[in-house]
Subunit: 279 residues, 2 copies
């Protein structure tokens, strides 16, 4: 298996050369985590069925020494089962379950809303032969023209950023979502940030976002796998008059983040919640 | 340690005798998971500092053969570190990180909103000497009277239920959040459901909610730890005319749940997204 330590991966990329699909991004990180080199088959949205010789309409797809494996989760399971002596992507079954929960939340709270903020950029950045397909399929999915959907994004971006507090909370006490080392939990969620970086002609997150350290460290992994020159800067969202804070600067989070180490540690909170209404 | 296999836990309960605190609930499950019996010190919201001899203003707190341990996460870490030969609550460091992320989402999406739906019931169910404290602190936290905050909850409950799709998605492919066996990820999230069951004078979730199987199995663990007679039924929310579905009956979730096993598996989705707008 994996002749010359190389696995073939079918890409889904833009005219910049940067991968757009969050699932392909996560799969590239998964292959790198397992120590494989990648033989990348380039391409965009259209013609996937032809490109894969009828094997798949969707990407990622990998070919390991002639064996086709489809589906981002299917690939992760295949890699851990087939190469158990290499670093585990899912080191405990609960990691997969919790990552699926977190990923479902993350799509609803951020990746979907970001897609609507950047859908026209997304189409314009796709390779010319994809323009018509991307326009018609995304307008079907979004129920609106790309121009109308993208309009007013400056008003929506701060709220999407603020909705990422669950990630900030988790990474406040840990270096990686995987704990002491990154694993597929990190790569899966990172895929949504890399998708956004591939299309974000204006930044999605503030310069001082506490998530930046984790995002930067993820981008730097595996020789800078996330440092593709076609990506746009994710950080640099400016706070306009009247915008909400793009992250919860007043933390900790509702008394949940600070640990109770005795009455001294809870006194300020106790005073706040028992204060007289006149006070 | 743990003389007679028993650990003391300070309870935070209502007049029904049922524990209200989600963190105390999670801690009771954690102690049971580690195979300990519990010596429960009863009590409500007021007088915690006196009850614990000045050790803490907040619960849970445990005493293991004279050693005090505070804070729900602190207790979990103590139990795994001190009793490594008993079943692990956190079998991999990433489980703690992902659970904190999921728990932060769950509080914002469900536990907090449920608290606002049941805040008057909550006060009325508390022990008489707690009524004034619960009323004033919760009105400070919520910025409204308990009666005003609770009003209109019938209009809010279906949406809160629908927001739980990340848990439904995760438990669609797995028996427990912990994977093949329950662990602290299950108990931590379950704590929010048990809190709600302790105050929910009207049900929060539909009878046919896919989460029900997991909730019921969690309630049944450890000899029916979650079957306290003071709890109210969580399931039984009726769909009124005009209410949204209380869970995503049309699943799977945006093409994310169904796995790509080849062109047959994605054909219906492809047809839907490429359909002519006139069609």
């Amino acid at each position: 298996m994996a002749k010359d330590n190389k696995i073939t991966i079918y890409d889904l990329a833009l005219s910049t050369g940067a991968t757009i699909s969050p699932f392909v991004w996560a799969t590239k990180y998964a292959l790198a985590h397992k120590g494989f080199e990648m033989d990348i088959v380039p391409g965009g949205f259209t013609g996937i069925l032809e490109r894969t010789g009828g094997k798949s309409e969707r990407l990622p797809a990998i070919v390991d020494d002639g064996k086709w494996v489809l589906d981002s989760w299917g690939i992760v399971e295949y890699l851990d089962e087939t190469y158990p002596d290499r670093p585990a992507l899912i080191p405990h079954p609960g990691i997969a379950v919790l990552t699926r929960a977190l990923d479902t939340w993350f799509w609803g709270a951020a990746v979907g809303p970001w897609m609507r903020c950047y859908c026209k950029d997304y189409r314009d950045l796709s390779v010319p032969e994809d323009h018509e397909y991307v326009t018609s399929t995304r307008e079907n999915m979004l129920g609106s023209t790309l121009e109308d959907m993208q309009a007013g994004r400056e008003d929506r971006l701060p709220g999407i950023s603020l909705a990422l507090e669950p990630l900030r909370k988790a990474l406040y006490e840990a270096k990686w979502l995987g704990g002491e080392e990154p694993n597929y939990a990190d790569y899966r969620i990172l895929g949504g940030f890399l998708f956004t970086a591939s299309v974000a002609k204006i930044p999605a997150l503030a310069d001082d976002d506490p998530l930046r350290d984790w995002v930067d460290r993820c981008f730097d992994l595996f020789g800078g796998l996330g440092r593709h020159p076609g990506l746009f800067p994710l950080f640099g969202l400016e706070q306009r008059e009247g915008d909400p804070d793009p992250w919860m600067k007043g933390g900790p989070w509702g008394g949940q983040a600070k640990r109770n180490t005795g009455p001294e540690s809870t006194r300020a909170e106790t005073e706040a919640i028992t204060k007289s209404k006149a006070g």
